[in-house]
């Protein structure tokens, strides 16, 4: 797959994401807004003509962050703090976070106390699925819009919002088309590559990314090239920001054909559609995301179950950073429920720097069991 020329562009965009954003900023004179996780309605930021970029938490050391956050804090937020303190995210003008977990809240407190830029904006993500919560979230999103307008110094028009939705939905449809190529018996693209494309989408202006995606699809949709592995896997977890994690699986004979990741299907699985009332439609899309923060166990199990059927999945890898409470709780229920339905799974916890050898050993043992 590596000789795939279009694919290389995405890999490069992701690897050079800091330079890409910095260059964009220099050229446009506009601001860059960091987003934590897939629960921030990026469309609103995009509609204000800013560049939303998803935060990547991967680091090799926590030397600076350790002075503020303990080792049992989630390493995504520790990694982000490390990069902020190292000024690697010097181009961010604002950081927006959803109130998902205690590590995010802890980070907010520390960052507030440090009183350095960029400032952070916390967006409440409801833990309840009711009409009341949905209405509240719509208002939360409205307030977010007002905040961004104030930050921009000008209003966001309805037509700007509609245009942003259009670009974002298009990106989602293209990503979905790409990801679903893996429904084939012999997919022309691997799971690690799909992840690279999604990651690059998260850090590149969407209109530019859409053009590249069209080209990539044009090149590979008709092809019958085989991805390496043959044991069909689904990966479930949160932000997987290192494609090596999937490469470990795919170089051991696995093939990641589907996912339930923030850096995967959760980013593109549902469209905003409905342009009649853009704000309400935006709120609804994010409110309905399948996740451990709002969904019931039944809904999460059904969601995984459906993907297992659709993509003919043989086994599930629950992939989570260590100390991630919501996903660890969910694993204890989801893993058991799917096992009862005859779908085996393993829990792979990781930290950066990756202990690749031991991760590989565990994956190999799992794959052996599935063959």
């Amino acid at each position: 797959m590596s000789e795939n020329t279009e694919m290389k562009k995405f890999q490069e965009l992701f690897e050079k994401r800091d330079a890409v954003a910095t260059e964009w900023k220099r050229k446009t004179g506009k601001r860059v807004v960091g987003c934590i996780s897939t629960y921030i309605p990026e469309e609103i930021i995009y509609a204000a003509k800013f560049l939303p970029v998803q935060i990547i938490g991967k680091v090799e050391t926590f030397a600076r962050a350790d002075a503020y956050l303990p080792s049992f804090g989630c390493s995504f937020m520790r990694g982000f703090l490390e990069k902020l303190l190292e000024k690697e995210y010097g181009y961010l003008d604002l950081v927006t976070l959803p109130s998902l977990c205690d590590s995010i809240w802890g980070f907010c407190g520390i960052w507030r106390a440090l009183e350095i830029n960029p400032s952070v904006y916390l967006l409440h993500y409801p833990s309840q699925r009711s009409e009341e919560a949905s209405k509240y979230f719509t208002e939360v999103v409205e307030r977010f819009r007002s905040f961004i307008e104030k930050f921009a110094g000008k209003d966001i028009s309805q037509s700007d919002l509609r245009a942003a939705i259009k670009v974002y939905d298009e990106n989602r449809m293209l990503l979905k088309r790409l990801a679903e190529l893996r429904k084939r018996e012999s997919p022309p693209i691997s799971g690690a590559e799909v992840l690279e494309v999604v990651l690059s989408s998260m850090t590149t202006p969407k209109d530019q990314h859409n053009q590249l995606l069209e080209k990539l699809l044009g090149e590979i949709e008709g092809r019958e090239e085989y991805a390496e592995g043959n044991v069909r896997l689904l990966v479930s977890g949160h932000v997987v920001d290192d494609p090596d994690l999937l490469r470990i699986m795919e170089s051991s004979g696995g093939l990641v054909v589907s996912d339930d990741l923030d850096t995967g299907s959760r980013y593109f699985c549902s469209l905003i559609d409905g342009v009649a009332n853009p704000m309400e439609s935006i709120g609804k899309r994010y409110f309905d995301l399948p996740s451990p923060y709002g969904s019931s166990f039944e809904d999460r199990i059904k969601h995984l179950h459906d993907m297992v059927k659709e993509f003919r999945v043989q086994g599930i890898v629950f992939l989570t950073r260590k100390f991630c409470d919501p996903y660890l709780f969910d694993y204890s229920v989801l893993g058991r429920a799917l096992k009862e339905e005859g779908v085996p799974s393993i829990l792979l916890e990781y930290e950066y720097p990756l202990a690749k050898a031991s991760l590989k050993t565990r994956v190999e043992a799992f794959l052996e069991m599935l063959r």
């Binding site: 804090g73 520390i110 009711s130 204890s332």
Partner: protein, 401 residues
């Protein structure tokens, strides 16, 4: 100094019996056709539950009284719960999964209520219990306060409380009497105010109530907010504490250092606090944890809005600038010499900020502190010698010989 000089409050001694009565009252509720709810413990809507004739139980409290029952953790881990997850949850889940438990286990609930105002574990743990026990769950969603509590937040939580009443009315088959609710809110407010007065008396030297008593005496405010029993308990406690202050009697007489405690006490080893008292004459005169339950004033005329306020207004849910101001004021008001920050690996909500807090307190205000690392319930990795060595060093810094 010998142990015999420590004076335990007689009101604190009563708690052991009150705890048993509390758990038995759930059994009694069922025998009388009343329903039992398992609720989260920080600002629970007990006032509503009691007004509906329901009996709340608090799994977190149950974990405290179980102390470190290692079999519980093993059972939970065997069911796929990671050892890094909240030890309250792992401890109680052992019992929920069927391990033999103190007091015969908690009386099974008819409904579970999670007020999500402290941590993500409140949501996930309650979902898990509801799933295992096959009982309905009501989640009271609670926004983090990034700046200050606004009408926007209060309206949302109050509306959810009203919706919760509708759900509970169906489960109990009874209608909520709003006058009864107002009375419960009034009683809850009275109890909280009495508790604040008790804590305030600890400004005086020698401090009349130590951390062990305080950690016990907070129980009625957790379990019985909204009842006359709680008010009566705190009246008694207040009179005992004020008597002591009048007579100049402290938990220990020779008080040399005044300390502030942050975090959840290590329930498996409260004796560690005695060590500080016995060896150094160092007394905890305030705990952020025990203060949490009395912090909100309620207006009985507006019961739902008041309970919404109580839900939102707890220190973990408040923004960093509020927390900083709060701590610094306590240090000043209570004449604090140093702070002990308890860090529990399995409780991010109360522990994740400790390293930063320590740094900021030292650099901005010159307040010395020490971080003690241990789990709040799971004692399997606890080393008493290490904890004491760390405290010894800290006391040396504070100037103890």
């Amino acid at each position: 100094m010998s142990r015999s000089t420590r004076r335990t409050l007689s009101a604190a001694k009563e708690i052991t019996d009150l705890v048993v009565v509390h758990y038995m009252s759930a059994v009694q509720a069922h025998s009388e056709g009343r329903q039992v709810a398992w609720s989260t413990a920080v600002a629970p809507p007990s006032e509503i539950l009691y007004s509906l004739g329901m009996q709340p139980l608090f799994p977190e409290n149950y974990a405290c009284i179980m102390k470190a029952q290692r079999g519980m953790f093993d059972a939970s881990e065997a069911q796929g719960l990671s050892r890094d997850l909240c030890s309250y949850a792992r401890c109680v889940m052992g019992s929920v999964f069927g391990c033999e438990s103190p007091l015969g286990g908690m009386e099974k609930p008819d409904v579970l209520i999670s007020t999500k105002n402290v941590c993500i574990t409140y949501l996930k743990w309650w979902q898990l219990m509801a799933d295992v026990l096959k009982r309905p769950l009501y989640v009271l969603d609670c926004p983090r306060i990034a700046e200050e509590i606004e009408e926007f937040h209060l309206k949302y939580v109050a509306q959810q409380l009203r919706n919760m009443v509708l759900v509970l009315e169906k489960i109990t088959g009874r209608k909520l009497d709003e006058d009864r609710l107002k009375e419960a809110v009034k009683l809850s407010d009275n109890a909280a105010e009495l508790w604040r007065k008790v804590l305030d008396y600890r400004r005086f030297k020698p401090c009349a109530m130590g951390v062990t008593d305080s950690s016990a005496a907070m129980f009625p405010l957790v379990a019985s907010a909204g009842t006359m029993e709680a008010v009566q308990y705190y009246e008694k406690l207040l009179s005992e504490v004020s008597e002591r202050v009048k007579d100049g009697v402290g938990v220990i007489q020779d008080e040399k250092f005044r300390l502030l405690l942050s975090g959840i006490p290590f329930w498996h080893n409260l004796r560690l606090f005695n060590y500080l008292e016995d060896r150094y004459g160092a007394v905890f005169v305030y705990e952020l944890y025990t203060a949490t339950w009395g912090i909100a004033s309620l207006d009985a005329a507006k019961p739902f809005e008041s309970l919404a306020f109580k839900t939102l207004y707890n220190p973990v849910n408040m923004p960093q600038p509020w927390q900083e101001k709060w701590v610094v004021k306590i240090v000043k008001d209570f004449n604090i010499d140093g702070m002990v920050l308890l860090s529990s690996r399995s409780c991010k909500a109360t522990s994740i900020g400790n390293i930063a807090i320590q740094k900021f307190l030292r650099e901005k205000y010159g307040i010395p502190s020490v971080i003690l690392e241990a789990d709040h319930t799971d004692d399997r990795a606890y080393s008493d010698a290490q904890a004491k060595a760390k405290l010894d060093t800290f006391m040396e810094i504070l100037g103890a010989k």
